[in-house]
Subunit: 430 residues, 4 copies
């Protein structure tokens, strides 16, 4: 689903803007930083930079450029992520073995595709442009997803280094904990999904009805301070709080705190993109898995919201229009970190731009969903198994990327994403 009207100039301007943002994010990183894959989930920075370029080359240039030839035959193979329909591809877990092309070679690749993209778009007649625009727009959103992933991934890469290097940004000043309030929502037969009027991924469709019982949502995210209470109450040691799969992971991997926390002489510190710093009790807890989010909710006597509850609550609370515009608050390049909730307003706080919020919904097709035809149909649909939905957006999400109906998803044990927790509850609770 795409915006209806794109002219060539607007399209090129937006293209340049999106592409430039990727390079801005990569700028603080050395060639060595850009090369390393610290675990299979993580991709090297230069791989992200090349892959989003490959996407335009494969789905736009190869389809529409007269007498197209690939920039480099082997890049076709190296920078395909998971599109079986495009052909064989380099093993995901070995992306960190690619010494060449180097970071600067990837820059040359980007320059070449950029020039050809601009050339193509400005030469196309109106009818062809109209048909092509949705794929190019998909490429913008695809690149934005990778901008967020690039930051999550380099955060992990730097975390395994005993030198404790910093990426960028300045540390936040310590914050005061804000009281938790609740927003009541009536429920009933509500609409969920993309309502039109702008871009959306296929997995947000179709707009459909769900029946919701009355419920309420916490008006802010769970804080580090609250999480420390959970830990102090032996939350990571009490099997009865955990899903069976979650408990198995706790024991197999020795979880005892959020992913990037380390204890030094009894005090907790957190690895951030701006360096290692003391855990701030007023900030939202982040880098917790679905298993941990669920265990915390059980401990708190609450539960996680479904994705339908989350989406409807934002609409009912009058935040939907805000959400459409708050994109500009995101990609917090001052701090690269979720910020404190601030004083209560009676409305939902931290809805966009702090932490992706785990829901209790498995990532499955909406009723009537059909993936698009062709290799592009592999974008979303084939991942609808074994993952949980997250909603909202996070401090690393680029401006204009997140929206009300956006469905992010990760396996329930994933912790390297910037994920947090908002509690839900039945309405009748007193």
């Amino acid at each position: 689903m795409s915006d209806p009207i794109w002219d060539a100039d607007t399209l090129v301007a937006r293209y340049d803007e999106v592409r430039a943002h990727t390079e801005t994010l990569a700028a603080p990183l050395s060639p060595e930083d850009q090369t390393v894959q610290s675990m299979p989930d993580v991709s090297p920075t230069k791989w992200h930079r090349a892959h989003v370029t490959w996407f335009f080359e494969t789905f736009v240039l190869a389809e529409h450029e007269p007498s197209f030839t690939p920039y480099q035959d082997q890049y076709w193979f190296l920078f395909n992520s998971y599109y079986e329909g495009v052909g064989p591809r380099y093993a995901r877990a070995e992306r960190g073995f690619i010494t060449r092309p180097g970071a600067s070679d990837v820059g040359l690749y980007r320059d070449d595709v950029d020039a050809r993209m601009r050339d193509l778009v400005t030469r196309l007649d109106g009818g062809t442009l109209e048909k092509l625009a949705p794929t190019i727009e998909l490429g913008f959103h695809h690149e934005q997803q990778h901008q967020e992933l690039l930051l999550m991934d380099i955060k992990h890469v730097l975390s395994v280094n005993p030198l404790q290097p910093s990426y960028a940004g300045r540390p936040l000043t310590p914050s005061e904990p804000d009281p938790l309030g609740w927003v009541d929502v009536e429920g009933g037969l509500v609409e969920v999904g993309h309502r039109g009027g702008g871009f959306g991924f296929d997995n947000e469709l179709p707009l459909h009805q769900q029946w919701l019982e009355p419920y309420r949502l916490a008006d802010r995210l769970v804080t580090n301070g609250e999480w420390l209470e959970f830990m102090a109450d032996r939350g990571y040691e009490r099997h009865e709080l955990w899903l069976s799969d979650g408990w198995a992971r706790v024991r197999a991997e020795g979880w005892r705190a959020p992913f990037y926390w380390t204890e030094v002489d009894g005090a907790w510190f957190e690895h951030t993109l701006s360096g290692t710093r003391p855990v701030d009790p007023g900030l939202p807890v982040s880098h917790v898995s679905h298993y941990e989010a669920d265990a915390y909710a059980t401990w708190a006597g609450r539960r996680l919201p479904t994705e339908g509850e989350w989406e409807h609550a934002v609409v009912a609370d009058g935040q939907a229009e805000v959400a459409a515009t708050v994109g500009s608050n995101l990609a917090d390049t001052e701090t690269f970190h979720p910020r404190a909730a601030g004083p209560s307003t009676g409305h939902l706080r931290q809805v966009h731009g702090d932490c992706w919020e785990w829901t209790s919904s498995a990532y499955l097709a909406y009723p009537g969903y059909h993936p698009p035809a062709g290799a592009i149909g592999e974008y979303n649909g084939k991942f609808m198994s074994g993952q949980m939905v997250l909603r909202g957006g996070c401090a690393l999400t680029p401006p204009g990327h997140a929206r009300l109906s956006y469905r992010n998803f990760f396996p329930p044990g994933a912790r390297w994403a910037l994920s947090g927790v908002r509690l839900a509850d039945g309405s009748a609770r007193s």
Copy 2:
């Protein structure tokens, strides 16, 4: 949720009936057969026989028997399945290392607990009996679940033996394929969950509303003959039909047919509890994973039903009452195998007693669900992660065990359960 009225005599009679059925199922098996664990998912027969006994010992005798002492201290440890609240337990993957107690020692353990159970029930006063009856009834249904698992497990144990041993039963005579029809269902705001009036597990509660768009369900299960067409059309080789996790399994484990099929000189054979026999095109396909069921549905241009659609269709089709009584058709001890659908009747066929039917629903809590307090609360709730729901029942399900609202669940890659496929579709399809 339990039947309201149990008197001591009825309870003891039912106890004896359930317990005797387990021993009947184990009777054809040698001590060696009863000892082996052929993969971590599988438990040895004698372990099943002991574990269901441990359940009564732990949750009934230990709670209510005056001056209770365990039959054998170490059995407490050996025969706990997954109840963290009861204490440490023997590793699941090592159940096949238990040479002692032997099969006959387990018989002595069963006899001892049976005598004490009968004694306890007949001595209790009415008020205590009323409070205890639901736990004993839960023990009946627990033992029935293990009767089904015992058969699924021994099927696997015997399958890895090149001698191709048979458990019991006589082979079915070859069947004719029956044409596939469709049953249209209107949808709307429908009720899903246990409606009262008999036993149900906690996970079937609460009864709640769901909104369903109009849809239709196939009036019988997918057959072996149809599956052979899927295979002939390279169904196991075309990535575009598969969920990403499913395709990874296909390649990692070399799947190219249902679990128990083997090809000999171009013809397909199936391992069954009655021996190895040629694949019968008229019988329902069985022992396929959720991944395979989903890929087949994609190939057929259809989809799997949600569990709400499945349950409501049975109600709408007037099968709900039938379902309540067809228990007696189940546990087909003549064949231990799903049977052919028979001629179309305009109603849903093979709803109970052939194959557990994969749905497209993840196994999650119903809105408002709360697990019971104590160790017994671990029965269902903690498994609500990473699994898919199956509905109906199968040819190995004991009489009176399955019901309309029953939620069976397995990981999407599981194949050793007796699972099959019923297709669904939107109503407007022509």
Copy 3:
């Protein structure tokens, strides 16, 4: 290499004797005991009983019986251990999945082959018998090797059971530690290998020369009491005592005592075939790996002997003839356990019949060694990689099986064999 003269009666008598001993060893074990494989190194008792029978069927009956047909086609596949030349075989790690044939079926198999073997031997003419006798004699020694393995393996099977079952035998009475003495050996150009005059495996050939510097050997094995001193001196925690591979195993598997030792409230207990009992400081330490033996020797300021040193010392000490006869002391069916050294005699004690003694020699071919032609050539030669030599014999070795030149071998990390430690040193040490 074989004894020169076998007549038919002697051969049948010896055959019956060896075969009967296997059944005697299996007699205390239930069908369940005989079925279980508790780790890949271990084989089930009934598999040992069948495999040694398969050996006679394959290498004798199939070669020499007129109109031979296998007893059961699939046994050919199931009970082949590692002979690639005989055809495909059942996976070693899955021997514990074989429920059928049961223990009694294996007995029928043994009876059938025994009858045919007796029949064949008594019908053969003298010339054919002479040619065949070496293979039959190899079968005796092969079966004796498996008698020893059967005991080592069932010891492990029973050890993983929390019921702590006992196999047989009576516990030893506590023993007094005996002082350690040293036997000096001159060295020089010495002979190593089988000297003829009786059976030997191919790997004991050819008899060859080695140059040895003067050395000395401890006159008894290291005791449990001495091992407790090593542990008390943090032997399992000090990397500098260990080979690199050994230290990696210590850390990966958490070694902190010999294999079958467990600590209960500060006291050490040992799992034996006669049940669990307190560690006796006067008995030889057993079930230690080569890595542990080497670390102990380093800690003690000594070293392990080479196999040439071991063999020559026995000759030089005048023990070689004794060794040829002490077979009758072995297979200690009263205790199934190595016994205390007893008072010093100025000669080497515990040379045969207590623990297999780790040497510092890798298991490699003697100069000029050639394996025999055909499948039987796989018996020894192909294992000459990655293993260490042990010399002597152990309390589970059957009568008449061990000898001076016998080369046993296991990987350096193996602990389930009945292995112990004898120290060596240079002669000049004071």
Copy 4:
């Protein structure tokens, strides 16, 4: 064992020479090339550059520099290879995760240590210098070992890249196969080990006697052409040629040719440091494991030599003095590849500087060997388990590093080292 006389100037000059050679070897490599670890056995180039620097910092500066402080605290941890005695260390398999220090930061570290080393050496009085010189000389040989490893490792790193990058060097011109001859050696009681008069590692000591039967050695290495015959004769498919462990590897890893060979349209190509090129039948085969070397020898009806046979043959053939000087032929920076044997001379060819030659000897202590005291004692002794000895040297060995008594060692399955095969045989063979 060290050269007797080092004055400060000679020592500094040699120091500068060795250190400069490392930087010369790293010069063609980009920061990205220097960062990647393509498998656990491989270390990144910049890690090698830093680790050899750490060696001087740890064993020389830390011991002798007044008021020593480490250059960077964390480098102490990051660049320790395996010295348990020096303290905890960064996990070997994660060396490729180190993005910082970058390649140029490592250069600064090298400069700093170099300056301090020069300063220390020139300030020391004669007595202290004499005591310190052996450790500094050990550092030279240590750095040379890593120069060779750096090349072997970067060869692997570049091999996993589909762009097929080249390191340096020019391809060899195709060569003619040279006929194989044999050199007869008499054997008897011979001396093996370091004879004094220059540097040697501790594992070459003590010089000792071995008894050798008469034997002969091939006068050149096995060629690619001969290896192609082995392959054409199904050498990788015939179990009877292989050690059991080797056959397991062949099947588990699908070996069908030497490590760096790939087949394209029926022709074989070889990855080299100078790019991918057709397999040249006249060059020595390289990058084969001990298992492959042994299987080839079995196929050829020959065997591998023991290390004693190899060493004595070089002496007996009059090559020992040559060997002492041929260092200057090594480190073939024109080709980085073993060269053809050239015409027969009646003497042993390709003894140094082509391929490390697998022997049939396990890497074990010589009689009377004792490792040095302290952390430096971990250099060699603790690896004497599970590895096989290689003799000679290879085309990547730096000038002056290899020698007659040098004992290289790798696990029998290792293939990424530049290893080849020389056949041996008994003398009587006709």
